[in-house]
Amino acid sequence: MSEILLEIDGKEVKAKAGMTILDAAKSVGISIPTLCHHEALEPFGSCRLCSVEVDVRGRTSLVAACVYPVANNILVKTRSAKIDRIRKIILELYLAHAPDSFVLQDLAKEYGADKDRFEKEASFCIHCGLCVRYCNEVKQKNAVGFVDRGGRKEICFIPEIAAKECWDCKECFPLCPTEALQAAYVLSQALFTAPPE
């Protein structure tokens, strides 16, 4: 009942209900690129790099593998000209913000992304939300959050909480796919403005 049969890249895959396409692909060694995904965290679906093609009863659409639940008889394609084209542009958009990120550079090589395609707007942060969600879901401290929206959105440490919690933790730093130093910078900025005890 709970076993689900689907096809990924021509391979028949057995999955359990509640798994995502990403989980199912991983279970048979098919790798799908991700930036905002983390095993310990709830799927977020923001980086869209894990976009794959899903054929449900003859209708194909592009979905985010990290959040799309497996279902019987769906056909999944993890690479196609279209998927590669979309991943390439997504990477190029990211590289405008974090051209020196090793993670991004490696992916850029694979998808032929040009890091100079869009005008540079170095902000380092690519809004994957790993630090924010890790602090919320795993540490349950909410010391770091997002402020503002859209293009003006930034990560920000809450001085009052950060002053107490962050110095001895810093577990979010290594999660950052672009530049851990950025988190350190934002953190110290918050700590300097923290009100005296």
Partner: protein
């Protein structure tokens, strides 16, 4: 007021109200909707009250502050009952005459009634005015008859009789069935069949279910839902309670944007009244059905009109969309099955229940039944809200109801569907307006915004404007929308400012594909629509901007120059005096010249140059002719030639 606890008690109470409210008693209905209030309805209302008191007519005349009937262009609107005489653009100084002539002497004040600008024919009755005559106002028609702050006004017009009907005569399944038969599709933008949505939720095994009203109307220029919520809040509430009964929900939410304070006030009051009268709470009308509802105010984010973002916001978290691979009607608010419909969708429900699905499907087309309210704005003579049967042509809406384009200008395009929609050109004016036809034309129904544009509108700039709106309103969660709209806005801005280059269109197309295919929510997926539809129908304008650095509509500031034709200038000095940048060189009897280095392109000279001279012109994509040598600048008067 004792609680009404049965269907019979409701009908008895309604009869009492009808007896008390003699239909022959003169009633002065004054629109107190947002548009009329902005054009001075508040003062008119005060003046009417004072005048009636002054003339000692309090006992025999009622006054009513009502919801918006739609003719905002000619507000403040006043309708005198029982004759239904409609006065437009009423000012406080007209009030004494109206009371004396119309109320006392039963005569019409001719100068205040509608007068056709072409035929000079007058239309004293509301139903004779072309703007109204060509509409089918199933929903909006009640607004002018109801004081939105009075539940009794709603009851007089058969209010809550549909609720009474479902609770006493219909099973929940048959209510869902009736809505399915009516083929009512979501009025908020998606056009998803409401009955199917309800059925999914009804059949979901989870026992706790929610119903939600989406009143987060955020499209620029749209105010349909506002008018309904402000003008007839009980109709939405009644629809919601019926929906809750049909799907088996006992709690509902009304999500209203905080920019609509009057709507928030009126719906909150309506909830309190409905509780007092027994239409909300425990054991409604003695049926054993319980339902409660609360209002949630939005905090000013456009994206919260998206259903999942709206639900996330009600849950108390940042209003960002979440993946919808499992539909909200199965897993919605707090992961419970939730039916979310737009204000207008809910308002249609009592009508369908009362009059039947068959009555409803007689309006509209096969795929899109019923009427739809549009906010008709932009370059149009009769700005306002119009309610029309689906399938009506754009031409009929714009010319028969809207009265055409002002100042004899040529129609260029109509933008429908808000920022997610697109622009439809003149060649498609005979398009039948319904969900499917608009989508086929590259636009969408959306929630019903309709912005008319004339020949002076630059279509590239329109695309840039909507992209700017979307880039600003993007929640920033997913990259195709956050970064995609940012880059598209940059490119579109470059094009309108004369920095467009070869390859820009193709790059915009690539970014559009990424947004369309890979964005997380419907707003991101539809973000490129304004660009794609203008490219589809007005590609030549894009090319003119990029290749010739020319704006064919003579609208993009960076691409135009103001120039005074020396043959036409009569040295009247109008532009010289008004130019805020001191950019006009001239003098008495001397041909005026625009100093291009100083000119800020504000357009003042163009506006003030008398029509009989029309000497100031706009140039684009061509060099400005050298000024006439100083020695030859003396004006030769035409009549002295």
């Amino acid at each position: 007021m004792p609680q009404i606890n049965s269907s019979e008690a409701l009908e008895k109470f309604r009869q009492e109200l009808l007896t008390k409210n003699d239909a022959d008693t003169p009633c002065i209905s004054i629109c107190a909707g947002a548009g009329c209030i902005a054009s001075g309805a508040g003062e008119v209302i005060t003046a009417f009250k004072a005048e009636i008191e002054k003339q000692g007519l309090q006992a025999g005349v009622n006054t009513k502050e009502t919801g918006c009937p739609g003719f905002c262009e000619r507000g403040p609107v006043v309708v005198i009952y029982p004759e239904e005489i409609c006065y437009l653009q009423v000012k406080p100084e007209d009030v004494a005459e109206i009371v004396t002539k119309t109320i006392k002497e039963k005569k019409v004040v001719e100068r205040l009634v509608y007068c056709d600008s072409l035929t000079a024919e007058k239309a004293p009755l509301e139903s004779d005015i072309p703007f109204y005559k060509n509409q089918k106002r199933n929903l909006l028609g009640s607004n002018i008859k109801i004081d939105p702050k009075s539940i009794e006004d709603y009851l007089v017009l058969d209010g809550y009789s549909a609720l009474s009907k479902v609770l006493t005569q219909m099973s929940a399944e048959s209510v869902v069935e009736e809505i399915k038969l009516s083929n009512l599709r979501g009025r908020g933008g998606g056009g998803f069949p409401a009955g199917r949505k309800w059925e999914g939720t009804r059949n979901a095994p989870e026992p706790v279910k929610y119903v939600i009203v989406n009143a987060d109307e955020g499209d620029p220029g749209a105010f349909m839902d506002r008018a309904l919520l402000e003008g007839n809040p009980h109709s939405i509430l009644e629809g919601l309670i019926i929906g809750a009964y049909a799907i088996g929900s006992h709690e509902g939410f009304i999500y209203v944007r905080q920019e609509y304070p009057l709507a928030v006030e009126n719906i909150n009051l309506a909830i309190i009244q409905a509780q007092e009268y027994g239409f909300l709470g425990k054991n409604i009308l003695g049926s054993g059905f319980d339902f409660k509802v609360s209002v949630h105010q939005g905090a000013g984010a456009f994206v919260c009109g998206e259903s999942t973002a709206l639900m996330t916001a009600i849950e108390g978290r940042v209003g960002e969309p979440r993946p919808k691979y499992i539909r909200s009607n199965i897993k919605g608010l707090w992961d419970k099955p939730s039916v979310l419909n737009n204000v207008e969708t809910w308002a249609n429900v009592p009508l369908i229940i009362n009059k039947g699905a068959e009555w409803f499907t007689q309006f509209g087309t096969e795929g899109s039944s019923g009427t739809k309210i549009f906010a008709l704005v932009g370059k149009i003579n009769n700005t306002g809200l119009v309610e029309v049967p689906m399938g009506i042509t754009l031409r009929d809406i714009i010319y028969k109801i809207g009265g055409g384009i002002p100042d004899g200008k040529k129609f260029k395009a109509v933008q429908t569907g808000g920022p997610s929609g697109g622009c439809i050109p003149e060649s498609l004016l005979d398009l039948a307006v319904d969900f499917d036809e608009l989508s086929k034309a590259g636009s969408m129904m959306g929630s019903g915004g309709m912005i008319v544009m004339d020949e002076d509108t630059c279509m590239v700039d329109v695309a840039r404007y909507f992209m700017e709106f979307l880039a600003d309103e993007s929640c920033g969660k997913c990259v195709p929308c956050r970064e995609g709209t940012r880059q598209m806005l940059k490119i579109l801005t470059n094009i309108t400012e004369g920095r467009g280059k070869e390859g820009d269109i193709e790059l915009l197309e690539e970014l559009s594909e990424v947004a369309k295919e890979a964005a997380l929510c419907a707003l991101g997926k539809s973000a490129p629509n304004s660009f794609l539809s203008t490219l589809r129908y007005f590609r030549d304008e894009y090319e003119a901007h990029i290749k010739d650095k020319r704006c064919p509509a003579l609208s993009c500031k960076e691409l135009i120059n103001f120039y005074i034709d020396p043959e036409k200038c009569q040295a009247c000095g109008a532009c010289l005096k008004k130019c805020p940048a001191d950019a006009i060189i001239g003098g008495k009897k001397l041909i005026h010249i625009v100093d291009q280095d100083k000119c800020t392109k504000c357009g003042t000279c163009f506006e003030v140059c008398p029509t009989k001279f029309s000497a100031v012109t706009k140039l684009s994509g061509e060099p400005v002719p050298a000024p006439v040598p100083e020695a030859e600048r003396t004006v030769v008067k035409k009549d002295k030639k």
